[in-house]
Symmetry: C5
Subunit: 228 residues, 5 copies
């Protein structure tokens, strides 16, 4: 039986002053960062995404997953030893776990993006009124929500749970190759009944899937000079 | 048939310390920034606006448009290589797409400011109650809104859509040569029924249209020394 | 017929590190700033106020006025060339225009403080419910508000309008020589009906009127050495 | 007849980098700060409190009082000349005035802490609904509030008024030697009717009374070497 | 009879620039910090937790407890003398006291984590409506809440009280070895009646229990070289 996983979204923002360093120093900083990621990803899921051009407050997202929270902790300790983390802040950080859904048989115990081009991520909090609604009524409302989602089969959903672990209740991560299709789905979902029970669904991040190396190169436009 | 476009509003704020650098270094930084913009604008829409004197938290707006999100990403990577971006933050960033309007036949699949003097930009979120209103009723309410807008023919509107891509639902960009006329229109719209369904329409930016070169010169009052 | 004016409130906060510079350098920075202000004020309204001791997040307010927004922009470009602006942020910035009032014949098309000792400034946003109230009812409610204000004849009001231009709807600026009297007026106005339609009226700034030179000297306690 | 007083709460936060300076430089910075305080306190009320260990966003509170706002302004100008203010921010600042209470005969026209060990300070804003309640009803509700307070005679209250002068309506400052007793009083007050009309009562500061010199020494654990 | 205790949660965030210092300097900074902690913990409760990998805005939590607030103050003064505090901010800080519960006989006058692997901490504010509910009704609602909690016997609760001392009403700290179990408990509690009276329960911190030395080593991945 598959185990529940810890899922960590770490959004990084590099200090503009880092770009003033000479190219070789920046290359060393990126190589050290890359090495930490490669070490973790040799055994566990690690995915990188660039936010350069889609957000102003974050440059890079690392998505990591492990059955053990200590392993997530250790990865971030090792990452902090890279030169790049001497110049980076973590403006957003979401800790969550996978869990079977109450409303769908198709839920997964792993967040495993299927190599779509984009990941659309947001922390999600429902109104407290939602939790006071009769369970059968909640079920009915969620089935409508799920039915609309199925009209957009190219958009895939990874939900993880943060109750008590972090500031949000859920971390919602949609995957897809067509931002326009995802935009239309989200606008369509606004008119479903479930939408009325949304307390917070921002910030919303459009994340461009790429290798860690490419995401690092996008920080300063310079190649690390290492084959990923 | 025209394609839907990605529209990106990138607001930049230059560190006050940048103004302490010597003039020649600042000129190099601006020339590199200008070159990145000229490269992009040779094929796609790029417009520059100054916020010096109208806002305290942003100095310059770049509006870019492309049918491909990767092209927007690449532009921001190249831009980050300019010396100026070693001293600039991006305090606001709006990612959106064009889309035909449900309520008007005149909507456009391009955001293409008509060379008015000013662009008035704000991110827009409607209340969730709005989306629960009967579609016919929503249509009626929006027609009143559009009718009032038409009483101000010198103000032109470019709406783009951000559902699921960014923190707002819409990015609204009005153009006009007369801020007083636009102010009167917005005050008049407060008394329409649609106004009651506004959840958020700030921050609101008054942006002064100008060439990239002039907007760069406005950062420190020094000319780049390159003909735009 | 008088023209409508652009009114700009620019609040500046000097980096504490600026005070560590040697006295001569600070004096040059202040002289350059003063020169930019004198140039503008030779033709148009420019007033300076100190917030040292009344606020923690701003040190100095410049109030400028012009019939042309480009002139306001140019002033801030020239100001940015002064050494002081290499060490200053603009934590608050309000752009507005004058406009005849719907509710009073005494409204002015100029903001022209009458050399009172203090200016009390805040951005003002009304609830959307206000704009749905019947116009006759709004008139009645505003007349009560105005009537209370007239019981405090030593307090003078300058309202300007920001709909669509900036984050607030109005910039409200009261003048007076007696903060205690103004405080009593504002507390008294809380019990009027109009008060129920206030959405936001903060931050609220108590600004001490003085010459630009004195306001600059208040930043570090050192005199510029130039007669204003 | 006693005059109304201006009351100023200035909360300071020292840059961590200040602690890296050598001990002698820090001692000079503190002596200059102390001298400015001693000058003011020779004629007017000035009290110091440490927040080291009770808050993370402020280190020191200066409470000053004067019948003249210019005197408060001048004090902060002189204070800014001390070396310490080249390394300090003012994260919170409350400007207020004393005023006779509508609800109690015991109100004072001076804020004059009685040398209790602690001062508990918060800015206070009531809901607008409160001001629409019938005055007799408001009186009744406030008498219940006052009656509960009198059950805790060791806790003393200093209220000052900020309507129109600053972001809050009141600055509330309780004094006492026993935080546990004050905590119990505040929890008890939650069940009074007046509590329902609270819009904002945070941030809440627990301030430890001490001499300016001791509060300065608490910033870096080093003694100024001057007898206070 | 046991005394009520002061409980202090101090969350620290180290400046990324600290990691650029040479290893020996960092080791000295950490040793000084460790010495301050060891001095305090020789007589009183001090527990350390790492947030590396679970949060982006804090790296380390120190939980201290004393019957005397001056002792908490002094500890933070001594701590500030360590080199590490020249590079650290305190982004979150919660001051509280222990107190017998109105609703449970099992409440404790000490916060004394039982060496579980994790501490889940959040500041808690109830709606003002809660305090207007009839006491018997409040009792009934809380008993349901407590009954659900008892279904998860491996999760232990330490509540402390901040009324009037800090921005929250309670600091809630759950302990457990299994984040998944705690997550399930919190999600389950959403459907209890008491959940409807929650005004604020964020930020929520997942804190990994470890020795001070290990928590310091996690900041830069380097060992202090001192046996804890």
């Amino acid at each position: 039986m598959p185990e529940r996983q810890f899922v960590k979204y770490t959004f990084l923002k590099v200090d503009p002053a880092w770009r003033r360093l000479d190219a070789e120093e920046r290359a060393i900083h990126k190589r050290e960062f890359l090495a930490a990621c490669e070490d973790f990803s040799s055994e566990r899921l690690l995915r990188a995404f660039s936010l350069v051009g889609t957000r102003g407050d974050a440059d890079l997202l690392l998505l990591t997953q492990a059955t053990n929270l200590e392993r997530i902790h250790e990865f971030h300790v090792v990452l902090s030893q890279s030169g790049l983390m001497g110049w980076a802040e973590t403006p957003y950080s979401f800790l969550a776990m996978t869990k079977p859904s109450e409303y769908s048989d198709e839920s997964r115990l792993e967040v495993r993006p299927q190599h779509s081009k984009y990941l659309f991520v947001y922390p999600f909090v429902k109104t407290r009124e939602w939790y006071g609604v009769d369970p059968k009524e909640r079920w009915r409302i969620m089935q409508e929500h799920i039915r609309v989602g199925k009209e957009y089969p190219d958009v895939d959903l990874n939900t993880s749970y943060s109750f008590g672990l972090d500031d949000q209740e859920f971390v919602v991560a949609f995957e897809g190759d067509e931002p326009a299709v995802f935009l239309d789905l989200v606008q369509r979902l606004r008119t479903t009944e479930s939408s009325l029970f949304t307390k917070r669904d921002t910030p919303t991040f459009t994340c461009i899937a790429m290798s860690v190396e490419r995401a690092l190169n996008a920080l300063d436009g310079a190649t690390v000079g290492v084959t990923a």
